[in-house]
Amino acid sequence: MRECEYSQISTRSSTPMETPYKKRTPKKRKWETFPGRNKFYCDGRIMMAKQTGVFYLTLVLILVTCGLFFTFDCPYLALHLTPVIPVIGGVLFLFVLGTLLRTSFSDPGVLPRATPDEAADLERQIDVANGSTGYRPPPRTKEVVINGQTVKLKYCFTCKIFRPPRASHCSLCDNCVERFDHHCPWVGNCVGRRNYRFFYMFILSLSFLTIFIFAFVITHIILRSHRNGFLTALKDSPARYPFTAQPWLVVCFFSVWSIVGLSGFHTYLISSNQTTNEDIKGSWSSKRGKDNYNPYSYGNIFTNCCAALCGPLPPSLIDRRGFIESDAPQLAPPANGITMYGATQSQQSHMVSLYTVS
């Protein structure tokens, strides 16, 4: 996929009158000035990490494996067993592809960086709390009690915000992501609050697909061997059906187990409402202390699963396709040394109309 090219036409001409529609300078969309290390396609509709090589490998592996299965095994199986097999295979394949693309292309739950006003306000508050020094102050943390458990909120120096609980900063994408699970190179994106369910559906359906393909390839070989003898079938297969060659089968066997293992691991994470990040750090493990428990868990497995997979899908917070508002800073005469910040055009015009009405 090629990045949509955007070339700005500079048509700067100073106009004394403010026009409501600036038809001269084409407006830029927000994704074009996004501060994180992400790639955007289709005018901001698709969002991925910077390194996407492994994602294309994943796509190729799935397409080639399924392609070979449908070409070489399905005709035989449909004829000698039942035509339902290719149908189920097809449905699984489409579901896997759909969930993969959804995971890779959607916003994982990126938190937009603080506006300069917010950052300044936070800095002021922290300086007041610490006592301003000339050096860079130590890592700032805030403590909050959630469900009886003390959680430390860390300050992100890049995004200039206090990270919400369960959020983490991805160093690869240079973004803070809500409910950060992990950065998955296989899908070419972070896995966070907004795409975790798609990721889980992807690995679950991929497990079923790989087991399905593996089982039916074996069945194919066995059926053939009944006619020709097992060794002949194995010998013949690589020549006529390259997919059933012995090295391939070994590769398939190991990949099936790793994907099934991963699905099992994430099923455990979902049922205990933990993220991979928390599990690896042992944030809620009982080894840390007797009173250490997960404050986000709903108590029972069923509710945890429902919440993770069927809960409401929050919208994207970064508004990729919105247009950048042109700021016209208006400075008021300074009082008490407080820095003045300009409101945006729309806010000011709104205020003006309200003042004149009242």
Binding site: A114, C306, G311, P312, A343
Partner: protein, 138 residues
């Protein structure tokens, strides 16, 4: 007829998130000292509390949201191409509420609420405009 006066921004107050109930969207109801001269505490608290209730409604786990989730999964999430999610519907409600509050209560007092969604649901930004209501050309 005097030309329209552009009100100047005096300062901004940021109401931070309250994480004591977990990761749900909730804002602190503590009354900031900068607003003491402009609006009364009860009014402010009522606004923030209503916002918190609306966000809780958006993120509520219940029969309706589960149904929506399951239906979406079955249609491979293509249903969202033609339908709005429950969360988006509530966000629109919140935008209308904020606009309404601004027009009725905050603007006459020289304040402006910014919809938290424009700040990534991190803060409720309240812009304090210079008080020129006394003796200005109207």
């Amino acid at each position: 007829m005097q030309p329209e006066i552009q009100p100047a921004v005096s300062s901004k107050v940021f109401i931070q998130r309250d994480y004591s109930s977990g990761t749900i969207c909730k804002f602190q109801t503590k009354f900031p000292s900068e607003l003491e001269s402009r609006i009364d505490k009860q009014q402010f608290e009522e606004t923030i509390q209503t916002l918190n209730n609306l966000y809780a409604e958006a993120e509520k786990l219940g029969g309706k949201s589960y149904l929506e989730g399951c239906l979406a999964c079955l249609t491979a999430y293509t249903i969202f191409l033609c339908m709005e999610t429950h969360y988006e519907k509530v966000l629109k409600k919140i935008a209308r509420y904020i606009k309404d509050q601004n027009e009725k209560i905050y603007a006459p007092r020289g304040l402006l609420l910014t919809d938290p969604i424009e700040r990534g649901l991190r803060v409720v930004e309240i812009t304090i405009f210079e008080d020129r209501s006394i003796g200005s050309g109207r």
